[in-house]
């Protein structure tokens, strides 16, 4: 990796100041994607601003049916949180199945969401649960947050503070893993909410998105048979050495059906 200036600010304000001062600064959370990318010299920030020292980005709080998870909360902490397990067991399960145990001890929810890897797990949950992304500049609706492959609605100098989820009536996340990387080839997060069924799909396309056709079908009839009838847009699906577009389209339906079974 190329060398860089390292900063470890103690507050969100200082972090943003450091970024603004840098010629090409980058925030780093757990570093689980950022550091391998830098090691392969695919990124070369002039300044790395480590968010690991900012206490206000940590912690899980519950208010009524809403659970708010600090951006620097690790996947391991989310998975182990009694509050998350109680209010959002599907999210705890999702977090507990990202990467491997050592990765979960470093990787964070904020880092994962801000990076928006097309095969990351959290984006599916954010979309399906209609989460709110609380940032240093305000709030971003989960539906609006993921704008393209590795792209989000965050401004350059905007930092995720926390993510708020509202407890759904039921939810499940089903992931079909890439046998090599263990990222999602397809991940489907299904939530039964007061506004009906919401589905977040990751891995299948360049950016996580809502499964509108599936939602429509399931809102009419919440059954695996209803999923069968949905025609998936194969031409929109990713294709790579691990899975063709057609197979991904098929897996979206299978994972959705498994989520339906789990939510019954």
């Amino acid at each position: 990796m190329y060398d860089f200036n390292y900063h470890k600010p103690g507050s969100v304000d200082d972090a943003i100041k450091a970024l603004r001062k840098a010629s090409d600064g980058k925030f780093v959370a757990g570093g689980m994607t950022m550091l391998p990318t830098m090691k392969h010299r695919l990124a070369s920030p002039s300044d790395v601003i480590d968010l690991g020292g900012i206490k206000e980005l940590l912690g899980i709080t519950v208010k009524g049916d809403t659970i708010t998870i600090g951006a620097m909360t690790t996947h391991a902490a989310v998975a182990a949180s009694k509050d998350v397990q109680r209010l959002l067991p599907a999210l705890a399960k999702l977090a507990g199945n990202i990467g491997d145990p050592a990765v979960r001890n470093r990787g964070t929810i904020g880092g994962s969401i801000a990076n928006n890897d097309p095969a990351a797990d959290y984006p599916a949950a954010v979309i399906a649960l209609g989460a709110t992304i609380n940032t240093s500049k305000g709030e971003i609706d989960g539906d609006e947050f993921f704008t393209g492959m590795f792209e989000t609605a965050l401004a350059e100098d905007e930092l995720i503070i926390s993510v708020s989820f509202t407890k759904p009536k039921a939810a499940a996340y089903m992931k079909f893993e890439n046998p090599a990387s263990r990222y999602a080839i397809v991940g489907v997060f299904l939530a039964k909410t007061n506004d009906g069924v919401r589905i977040g799909i990751t891995g299948a396309t360049p950016c996580a998105h809502r499964g509108m056709r599936l939602e429509e079908a399931l809102n009419k009839e919440f059954s695996t048979a209803a999923v069968d009838k949905v025609i998936m847009p194969v031409d929109k699906m990713n294709a790579d050495i691990h899975a063709s577009a057609e197979y991904r389209a098929h897996l979206v339906k299978v994972m959705t059906q498994r989520a339906v079974e789990a939510c019954k």
Partner: protein, 158 residues
């Protein structure tokens, strides 16, 4: 160059390092603790697993400066004098290693598994928990046996 201070295997260390120095490089090159290995560059193989503040991390995916003020434990920090840690002993008793290269990471991960899952581990749990550690030699059969036996032995220790 930044200065980094941490405790490694109970001993305080201070060094000047380039910011880009990975924790694993710091351990291997600066401290000459070569028991922690590098088997890949994509944080898949787990040969570099150490504990930072009691939790397993992949030392190839963490900067040395990120461990500022932390307590780091490596494979070299487990045995007490000539007495192996029960998990190390379990790997020996159950032929849980062949070439030895993945072994330090396996043992450090195994301890983390026990810390989170307790001393009675079923096979499926151990196999799932080992997904971040690749071994080419053993076929995992004896590693799984070792982790389960080591977990049990750790529980029976006072």
């Amino acid at each position: 160059m930044p200065t980094v201070k941490m405790k490694v295997n109970g001993k305080p260390v201070t060094a000047e390092v380039e910011a880009r120095t990975l924790l694993v490089q710091f351990l291997r090159e600066n401290l000459r603790l070569t028991g922690t290995h590098v088997g890949c560059d994509t944080s898949q193989c787990g040969a570099c697993v150490v504990h930072v503040n009691g939790k397993s991390v992949k030392a190839c995916s963490m900067l040395a400066v990120m461990a500022e003020g932390c307590e780091v434990t490596t494979i070299e920090g487990l045995a007490t004098g000539n007495t192996l840690h029960p998990m190390q002993q379990a790997f020996m008793d159950n032929h849980g290693l062949q070439c030895g290269f993945c072994t330090p990471g396996m043992v450090m991960t195994a301890l983390d598994i026990v810390n989170r899952n307790g001393n009675e581990l079923d096979e499926a749990t151990v196999r799932k928990e080992l997904e971040g550690n690749i071994c080419r030699c053993t076929g995992y059969h004896n590693i799984v046996k070792s982790v389960r036996a080591g977990a049990k032995a750790m529980g029976s220790k006072p």
